[in-house]
């Protein structure tokens, strides 16, 4: 909730405006993740999971480039 104060001639009016949650970013390189809906959870609860985030491993947590690096590190150990 964001509060906005507006000065009018005779009085100050305060009203609140609902805000959308911010865009999700990658945990490693903090780039904006594509394909993720940034609505309140109450709005997107009924939407299918495949529309909310990619079905890849680390989908919705890491970007595609960082997830490749993580998997490569795991394999080459």
């Amino acid at each position: 909730m964001k509060q906005i104060r507006k000065k009018l001639a005779s009085r100050v009016s305060v009203y609140t405006r609902k805000e959308r949650p911010g865009k999700k970013t990658c945990a490693n390189c903090s780039k904006v993740l594509p394909g993720i809906l940034n609505f309140k959870t109450s709005k997107i609860r009924n939407i299918a999971r495949t529309r909310k985030r990619p079905s890849r491993k680390f989908g919705g947590y890491l970007c595609s480039r960082c997830s490749r690096k993580m998997i490569l590190q795991g394999v080459r150990k």
Binding site: S55, R56, S67, R68, I71, L72, G74, V75, R76
Partner: protein, 116 residues
Amino acid sequence: MSIFEIGRLAVKIAGRDSSNYCVIIDVLDEKYVMIDGNVRRKKCNINHLEPLKDVLKIKRNEGHENVIKAMKQAGIKIIEKKTRAKNKGLKVRPKKIKIKKSVDESKKVKKNEKRK
């Protein structure tokens, strides 16, 4: 011969089946290769694969069952495909049938009388 030969074990890095073991079945050209195993049987770019050291003894374009058998001998855990509840014969909850609320005729008559 490049490292991506028939029977080479590899790990898929990108895509839906990432971080799964796969076996190369057929070499299409320098860039593309056919794969099978714990992944879907598909054409794949070699940049999305990480080759490993061991090579399985399989023919070209081998069937899915033989590939799985060869992988088991090499000691690799096989991921079975999730069959839907209907195929397994499990109890599937019947879908709710929405019944439209039938408004009583008498109520409708009363509303009209009020309006007149």
